[in-house]
Amino acid sequence: MTDSTCPADHRPARRQAWRSILIAGLAVLAAACGGGGGGGSQTPPTPPPPPVRLGAPEVARFLTQASFGPTDAGIEALRDSSFESWITQQIAAPPPTQSHQATVEAALAAAQAANPSASINANNFYYSWWRQTVTEDAQLRQRMAFAYSQIFVVSLVDTAISGSSNGIRGAASYYDMLTRNAFSNYRTLLEEVTLHPVMGVYLTFLANQREDAAGTRTPDENYAREVMQLMSIGLYELNLDGTTRLNAQGQPILAYSQQDISQLAKVFTGISWYHPTPTNTTFLGGNRNPDSFVRQMIFYPQYHSFAQKSFLGVTIPARTAATVTQQTMADDLRVALDALANHPNVAPFMATRLIQQFVTSNPSPAYVERVARVFNNNGQGVRGDMGAVIRAVLTDTEARSAPSGDSFGKLREPVIRLTNWARAFGATSASGNWLIGSTSSNQVLGQTPLASPSVFNFWRPGFTPAGTTLLGARGLRAPEFQIVDEVSVAGYINTLQTAVATGIGVATAGVPDVRSAYGAEVAVADNAEALVDRMDRLVFYGALPAATRTRIVEAVNSIAIPSGATVTQAQIDAARLNRVRTAIQLSLASPDFLIQR
C-alpha cells in the first residue's frame, strides 16, 4: 500500500470508499483508485487540492492513535492533507538528528567536564525519551519505536544495563535502533535486535558458551525461548486472523517444543562483546572496548556450538571445531532468523501487537487478517514491510470508522496520558532537557519507558481483567488494565493534578522543569464553554459526552473572575489560571479521556 496519494482523488466519498476498499483487501487498492492494478507500483497524477477539509474531530482521533497526542498545529495541518499523505510523510521523515545516544553522551561529557569520575544513570535516558516523544515532529516514528520497545523488550530495571554509564549509552543506542527501524523490514529489525549487546545482556545470551562434551552443561536458553514466545511466533499456531488454530481434538497446537528451544539456543552461543581484536578475554567481558555497549555483538567461533541444530523444521548441519568460523556463524544465524521471520505466525502475531498498541485491545479477526496480509505482502511482493503494516493498522476501516459497541478501544497508557497533556497544552522544559525521571511507582504513573518489570512488558497482550470486572466477565483483553488497581488509579489522578497545576520533573527553586503556561487556554478562560471546547478538541477528539461536559463547565464557572475597582490584574490572572487548571484536571481524570476509542 505505497500508493499514498490515491484516496485524495475520492475525497468527498472518502469514508465509504475506504471501507469497501479495505474490506475487499488492500491489493485491490490500486485498481480501485484507477491506477490500473499491477501491484500499485505506478505513480498516479498529482491530485487536485482537496475540496473539503478533514474535520478536526476525525483528525484529532487519528492523531490520538498515531502520535503521542494531537496539537493545535498538528490538527490544522492534517486537516489540509489526508491520513495517507500524513503517513507517507511520517515514514519519509528521518530519525531525529539528535539521537538518544548523542543526548546521553552529551550529558556524560558535561558531567565529566566538572568531575572526571562522574557518571550518568537511567534518568538521563528518560529525559531524552520525554524530549523526543513530546517535541519531535516525526511522531509516527516515535510511536512505532515505543511500540517496539514493548515487544522487543529490554529494561533499565536490569542493573547490568543501567548500572554503568556505558550501559546507559547502550540502552539509548538500543532505543535509537528501534527508532531507526520503525518502518524498515521486520527481518532487519529482528537481526538488529538479536545482535544488540543490550539484548545480549538482558536476555543473557551474551558470552553464552556451547554445551560441553559430557552433555551436562547446556547453552543458555533464555533468548531462544523469549524471541519465539514474545517477539515473533508466540506459543500456539495461529490462523491468519490471529485466532488460535485447533487440532482434531479441539486443542491449541504448540508452535514449538522445548526441543526447538534447546536446539535454537545452540545458535546463540559464541556471541559476545565487540572488540577490534577479539580474544577469549574479551568474550568473557574482560578488556572491554569503550564502544562495546553500542556496537553489534561479534562472533567468537571458539565458543560456538558445532553440533547439528534442528528447530522449526530447519536443520543446520553439524560442523567441527575446526570449521566453525565467523562466516559460518553468520550464515547459521541467518538461517535461524529466516526461520523465525518466515514463520506463518509472525504476520498475525505482529498485526495483533500493533493494533493493540495503537487502536484497540480486542480487534476483530477480520481486522487482524487484513493487517496480517499486508505483513505477508506489501503489495509489491515484500514480506515484513513495517511501514506498510502500520499504514494498514491506522487506515483500516475498523480504526477509522466511528467507534461503536462497548468493547472497542483501549485504556491509554499512563505515560502517553502525560505526553498527551504536554503536547496538547504546549508544555515546555525550562532546562530544555525534559527532566522527567522514573515514573514507575504505582503512586505516580506505574510505568516508565524502557523500564518494564520484566521481558513480559508492563502488561501482557492477552491480559484479561478479573472475572469480577465487566471486561473479565466477557473474557475481553485489556492489556493496560494489568496495572490498574485501587492504588494506581489514585496515583495517576494525584500525579496529574500536580503536573497540571505546577508541572512535573526535577524542580529548580521549587518549580518543576516541565510545565505549561496554558496561554491559549487562559485566553478563552472567561468563557467556560469556549474553554471546554478546547478540551473537547485537544483531548477528547470531539467526543466529549454531554454529561461530562456539563460537569466541567459547572466546575469552571464555580471559579468566578473577580471584578471591581479593588481587583488586581494578578487576581484576575489567578482566577483564569484556576479555571484552566480545573478544566484540564477534570478532563484528564475522566474515563472519557482515559479510554481511547
Binding site: Q209, A478, D485, T582, L586
Partner: protein, 517 residues
C-alpha cells in the same frame, strides 16, 4: 477447627449492623459497636500469605538432598562451568574472598558458594521415602547457607518444605510426559503462563485464582469490610480474583490507602464545587465502554474504603508492629532495604487489625522478583534467598506478639514461583524447568519435615536413568492443586468447595498432604 455456629450467627448480625454506617462512620464509633464481635474475631482468625518468587526460583539450591548418592550427582552437574553454581557440602568451612578454597581449588569471589560454607543440615522428623533411582539408606536434607535465619524456625517445628510440587492435571510419569500420553498443563516453562497456572490453574488470560476462590467462601464472615478479604501488597495478581472476591491493593505506606486528593479535599483550585464535579466524573460508571465502567469501579472502590483503612492503620495495634531489622546483603555486606520484609510488615499490621476491622479470614499476596537466574546465579540467587530468609524470619517473630496475641498459629505463609530451574548449569546459571520445592511456615504447619517426595537427582547418563527427570527438568510428583487444597482445608474451606476451586484435585489420590495440623 470448625466454626461455632452460634457465635458466627451472632457475629454476622453485629457485622451486618455495622455495615449500615458505611465508610464515613468515625472509626471510634465503629469500634464501640464492634465490642463483642472483636473479641470473637480475635479468637477465630486465620490468614494465608502467598509469597511469590517471580522469575522461577532454582529450588535445587534452596532445599538439597545430602545423601552421598544425591550429592554426588548434584556436584557433578553443578560444579562446572565458567562460574560453578554447586553449593558446598555440609560442614565445609567458609572461605574468605580472595583466598583459594581447599575443596575446589578456586579463588573465592564475593558471591562464590565457597564463601558461604557448607549447606545447613535440617532434619525431617517423618523420614522422606527413598525414591527409585536413589541409592541411599536414609534421605538427609540441607538448606542454602544464607537461609540460616530459617533454621531455628525449622527446628522449632514452624517451618517445613513441600518437595517437587508443580502444575499437573493428572499424576504424570516420565514416560507419560515424554510420550505426551496424558494431558499436561499448558505452556510449561513459559514464565507468564506458569505464574498464572500456579495462581489460577490456567494460562495467561485466567480470570480467577485459587486465592480468590478460597476468599469467596469466606466473604460473609468478614462483614462490612469483606473488601479486605483478599489483599495484595504486590500489584495485580490473578491469584486473588474470585467469583465475587476482589483483590484489594495496598501500598506499604504507614497509611496504606492512597486518597484521591482532588476528589476528596475541600477545594480544588479554590472551588468546592470543582471537587464535587471531579468526584462525579471519575466515579461515573455510565461510560459507553466497558473499559470506562471498569475504571470507574476501581476508582469507587479506591475512594470508598481508603479512609476506613487509613484510620484503622493509625491505631497503635498497627503502628506498634516493629519494623524489620537491618538486612545485610550477603554478597556486598551492605545494609540494604528489603522490600519483601516491608510488604510483610504491612501484612502484619493488617493482621493486627483483624478485630478492629471485623475480619476473620484473609488471603494475602506478597512478592519478590529477580529469580530468572539464567546468568550470575551465584550473585543473584544468594542475595534473593537472603532477603527471603530475612523477611520470613522477621514475619515469624513479629507474628509472635501482635498487640499481645501470638498469631503464629493463625497465619500460614507459603512460597510459590513460576517453576524451578534446570538441574544442570548453563555455565553460570540455569534455565526454565518444572517441579520445585517450596516452604510452608506457621504455627499450624507440621514443620521440621520435608513433605511430598524429594526426587531422584541427576541426568540420564550411561546406565543411569532418572525416573523423576526428563533430561534436566524435574517432573513434579505433587500437584499445585494438592498443595492449595491442603492449605484451603486448614483455612476452613469445605471438601466439596475444594473440588470446585481445584479442578484437578479429584485426579490425585491424596487430597490432603498432611503438612497442616
Amino acid at each position: 477447627m470448625g466454626f461455632d455456629k452460634a457465635s458466627r450467627r451472632h457475629f454476622l448480625k453485629t457485622a451486618g449492623a455495622l455495615s449500615m454506617f458505611g465508610a464515613a462512620t468515625p472509626l471510634a464509633m465503629q469500634l464501640a459497636t464492634l465490642g463483642s464481635a472483636s473479641a470473637q474475631a480475635a479468637s477465630d482468625y486465620r490468614a494465608l500469605v502467598c509469597l511469590f518468587m517471580f522469575g522461577g526460583n532454582d529450588s535445587h539450591n534452596m532445599l538439597l538432598a545430602t545423601d552421598s548418592d544425591s550429592w554426588g550427582r548434584y556436584w557433578s552437574a553443578r560444579n562446572t562451568g565458567s562460574d560453578p553454581i554447586a553449593l558446598m557440602p555440609v560442614g565445609t568451612a567458609p572461605v574468605t574472598p580472595g583466598q583459594v578454597a581447599p575443596l575446589t581449588g578456586r579463588t573465592v569471589n564475593n558471591d562464590s558458594p565457597e564463601r558461604f560454607g557448607g549447606v545447613l543440615p535440617v532434619n525431617s522428623v517423618i523420614p522422606n521415602a527413598i525414591p527409585v533411582g536413589t541409592n541411599a539408606a536414609t534421605r538427609t536434607f540441607a538448606l542454602h547457607p544464607v537461609l540460616a535465619p530459617l533454621v531455628p524456625i525449622w527446628q522449632a517445628g514452624r517451618l517445613g518444605a513441600l518437595a517437587n510440587v508443580g502444575p499437573l492435571i493428572v499424576p504424570t510419569s516420565k514416560a507419560q510426559y515424554q510420550a505426551r500420553s496424558v494431558p499436561l498443563p499448558a505452556s510449561l516453562m513459559s514464565h507468564n503462563d506458569q505464574q498464572s497456572i500456579w495462581q489460577a490453574s490456567a494460562a495467561e488470560g485466567a480470570r480467577r485464582g485459587w486465592g480468590g476462590l478460597i476468599a469467596d467462601t469466606m466473604l460473609s464472615q468478614n462483614g462490612a469490610n469483606s473488601v479486605f478479604t483478599g489483599v495484595s501488597v504486590a500489584g495485580n495478581q490473578v491469584f486473588l480474583a474470585g467469583q465475587n472476591a476482589v483483590q484489594y491493593q495496598m501500598t506499604t505506606n504507614a497509611q496504606p490507602a492512597v486518597r484521591i486528593n482532588p476528589a476528596t479535599g475541600t477545594t480544588l483550585n479554590t472551588s468546592s464545587l470543582a471537587v464535587t464535579r471531579m468526584r462525579e466524573i471519575i466515579r461515573d460508571n455510565a461510560h459507553v465502554s466497558l473499559f470506562g465502567q471498569d475504571h470507574a469501579a476501581f476508582v469507587r472502590r479506591s475512594m470508598d474504603v481508603a479512609d476506613t483503612l487509613n484510620q484503622a492503620f493509625s491505631s497503635t495495634l498497627a503502628t506498634s508492629v516493629a519494623a524489620p531489622p537491618a538486612n545485610v546483603n550477603p554478597v556486598t555486606g551492605a545494609t540494604e532495604n528489603n522490600a519483601l520484609a516491608t510488604q510483610l510488615q504491612t501484612v502484619a499490621r493488617m493482621i493486627a487489625l483483624n478485630s478492629v476491622l471485623g475480619l476473620r479470614r484473609q488471603v494475602f499476596f506478597v512478592s519478590i522478583g529477580g529469580w530468572d537466574t539464567h546468568d550470575f546465579q551465584n550473585q543473584n540467587q544468594t542475595v534473593l534467598l537472603g532477603r527471603v530468609a530475612h523477611a520470613m524470619a522477621y514475619f515469624d517473630s513479629v507474628l509472635a506478639n501482635l498487640g499481645g496475641a501470638d498469631m503464629r498459629n493463625r497465619v500460614t505463609t507459603f512460597t510459590m514461583s513460576d517453576f524451578s530451574r534446570t538441574f544442570t548449569t548453563n555455565g553460570d546459571g540455569t534455565d526454565h524447568a518444572w517441579g520445585a520445592h517450596h516452604f510452608v511456615m506457621g504455627g499450624a504447619v507440621r514443620g521440621q519435615n520435608v513433605w511430598g517426595q524429594y526426587p531422584t537427582l541427576g541426568v540420564d547418563q550411561g546406565t543411569f536413568r532418572n525416573p523423576d527427570a526428563d533430561r534436566n527438568i524435574t517432573i513434579p510428583t505433587t500437584s499445585v492443586d494438592q498443595f492449595g487444597a491442603t492449605l484451603g482445608r486448614w483455612f476452613g474451606v469445605a471438601d466439596a468447595q475444594l473440588d470446585q476451586i481445584f479442578p484437578n484435585l479429584r485426579n490425585f489420590a491424596s487430597r490432603d498432604l498432611g503438612f497442616m495440623l
